[in-house]
Amino acid sequence: MSVAQTLPLIVITPMFGAALLVGAGRRLPRFAAETLGCLFAAGAAVLALLALAATGSSAGQPAEWVGGWRPHNGVSVGIVLVGDRTGLGLATLVSLLVLAALAYAWRYFAEPPRRHAGSFPALVLLFQAGMCGFTLTGDLFNAFVFFELMGVVAYALTGYRVEEARAVQGALVFGVVNSLGGYTTLLGIGLLYAHTGELGFAQIGNALAGSPGTPDALLIAGFTLVVTGLLVKAAAVPFHFWLADAHAVAPTPVCMLMSGVMVELGLYGAARVYWTVFAGPGGMPAADAHRALLALGVLTAVLGTLMCWQQRHLKRLLAYSTVAHAGLFLMGLAVLSPAGVGGVAVYVLGHAGVKAALFACVGILLDRFASVDEHQLHGRGRELPWVGALFGAGGLALAGLPPFGTALGKAVTEEAVGGWATALFVLVSAVTGGAVLRAGARVFLGLGTRPADAGRHPADETAGEEEPETRGGPLSRIPDTMLTVPAVLLAAALAVGLVPGLRTGIGQAADAFTDHAGYLAAVLHGRAAEPVPTPPPHWTASGVLWGLVATALAAGLALWTVRRPVRDDVARWTVPLRRMHSGHVGDYIAWFLAGVTLLGALIA
């Protein structure tokens, strides 16, 4: 069986697993259902890894025409799956992270619905299938279908704890904003189809090359609308509002998947669409795309950082740190060069491990103490030294401590963006990492004075008293799986920075990813062309230095803050920002429309 033939199997393995779990759900005991879920997730991971290993050189872009509708003279009616290294690498990351989330939820997770033991793993498997399909497809409409699949399942998973009104509210906001993004994308696909009569990435790109020149309004609108939906998933400002509301209420394993990889897939989609469809002649001028993505990236990074620092609800804190990092990723992609893509790829891999591990630690706190509030938990984490160590290591890694993968990714990306960006990257890393370290110092070390309102029930939106997710109330003992998963994830994030082979592979993947003509030739004519090689991501002295500076700043910021008395009132300048994040879905939609306008204006 060739590499190309395994591509559909990566998508259908978890799909079939989900069908099996639902079909047999009434008879399966819980243990069997969870084992089956892990097996199917692992099966897809193995297939993706094997395919990745078999894709030898960077020029290898195995393309599988589903149903055998191979193109004749570059023309086909079918859908193609493309197993280039970036797509396959992301499918591998998705599958491994799903496996980690399922292992984390292993046996501890609150009772599934009566007689539906398999429903949680089945939903997670469908989530996996949607994400893997999205990474592998080479067709714009097919990408939309898988985008919707991962959306629909994610809404249900977010609202999983329906007993709480907030879970329903968070899932509803998530569903409404992301569905609106999906429709926008569909509208854009419609425009592009009307213009070119094609739906495949490569085919549209090929058709656009027939009419070179400055893009007309249709093309600008098509690009804006398609990218909007993807940027909603990527939580770019001002489409980011759903993210914190959803993360605050979603079960911990789901947060691990959403922050670890789903948000990043939105960015991947935007970059993939740009490079395959719009980067050639007749597409979008690089300067316009660069300006739009860079502006949104900076806005996202700054706003995410400001909001992150102010949170005391730990899940919200981590959620806004994801927003901030998504902004940095967007800035890296906006460079529109192999160096930028390679740096972001390393950064995303490292971030996935670190962020998922941090969420896993917060989940343990939630299930032990029935709270995720930094002030209420003050000093109570001292009985969990291992969790504290992992949480602290995660905070340092988030701040960019070498040799974590996050540090390498940050260094390469900031160098690719260049100039003033280094300062912004250092500041964003320092403040988001510092916020995590500050929370860790208070919760696990009990540093600083115990906040006066620690005992009472604060009514404002930042407080974090929650129901534990475990069956039978708070845990008395932490299960080994819940502790092993974050440790393994952090080790993986460390390995991303240390394994040289991975860096070379990512460098080659980025070269192929940014090779518009090579992609079209490989998909439409089956011709493999070696892209122009560029140096792969690597450590530099300045990168290490800036990483250390960011880490030192983060630690200093955290220590300085915990030594000061906790203030009850919030700082005046933050009030307008907080008011923007109202939880009111109507507000989010108003900002959404303003965002589409802003994006269109930046591109035009």
Binding site: H116, V152, Y160
Partner: protein, 250 residues
């Protein structure tokens, strides 16, 4: 946010999107043109595979992977609904009361039920020949069963609606699509390849795998919609929160 600011953001944003979209639409190819690159190719491909209904050929042959994704979206939505509308700890289930139905309504619904069921099955079975197919027919079949709720009452509907069976059918429809697609692999075809004989044009047994995939969708949609509606109806008719119950007794 204040109402005023909200309205300003909404108005400016909405105006911008409207301008963008109208400008784009002005650049669209004019109505009634003769250039249909995909349409022409799709019709040719459908005829080559002896599928009279080109739309079914696009759905179940040329772009069958899209349909697998769409089927999975429905499957995931139904599963999500089962999870979200479950009976929670603070809810109880009550037997619904028998209801009185006006005789004319009852006569109409009992007459319409078998007719609707037959039409639904017909639409599924002829998907490869005439407009329709598994998605459309499946919904009609599911609707027909619910006419019993209108004709008699909820308890009557529950008797012909063993939910466990429908959940299995829902999953079986999803699995069947994957399996038919994978069955092409040993025959040397790509996944979802149309590996069966194409049959005689414009007869029930034409189109190769199209009728099979179509039937899988029909089963999944019919069963899925029944399960979906059951969850909503249960919430409306049977499930009450214990607070409400206590209030009702007091």
């Amino acid at each position: 946010m204040t109402m005023r600011l909200r309205m300003w953001v909404l108005a400016l944003g909405g105006l911008g999107v409207a301008v963008l979209y109208v400008l784009a639409c002005l650049d669209l190819p004019s109505f009634g043109g003769h250039r249909h690159p995909y349409g022409d190719r799709a019709v040719r491909a459908a005829l080559a595979r002896h599928t009279a209904n080109t739309i079914s050929s696009v759905n179940f042959d040329q772009r069958a992977l899209d349909t697998l994704g769409e089927e999975s979206i429905l499957f995931g939505s139904v599963l999500g609904t089962v999870v979200l509308l479950r009976q929670t700890r603070d809810e109880d289930r009550q037997q619904p009361e028998p209801a009185r139905v006006a005789p004319s309504v009852r006569r109409y619904a009992l007459f319409a039920l078998p007719v609707t069921l037959l039409i639904g099955l017909y639409i599924v079975a002829h998907g490869q020949l005439s407009p329709g197919g598994g998605f459309q027919g499946g919904v009609v079949v599911a609707t027909s069963l619910h006419l019993l709720y209108i004709a008699v009452d909820y308890r009557a509907l529950e008797r012909i609606r063993p939910l466990g069976l429908y959940e299995v059918a829902d999953a079986a429809g999803e699995a069947a699509y994957v399996l038919v697609g994978a069955a092409a692999l040993p025959a040397g075809w790509a996944f979802l390849g149309n590996f069966l004989p194409y049959g005689t044009f414009n007869t029930l047994a034409s189109g190769g795998t199209v009728p099979l995939l179509n039937a899988a969708i029909g089963v999944e949609v019919a069963a899925g919609v029944v399960v979906l509606l059951a969850r909503f109806l249960d919430q409306a008719v049977e499930i009450v929160s214990t607070d409400e119950e206590a209030e009702g007794r007091a």
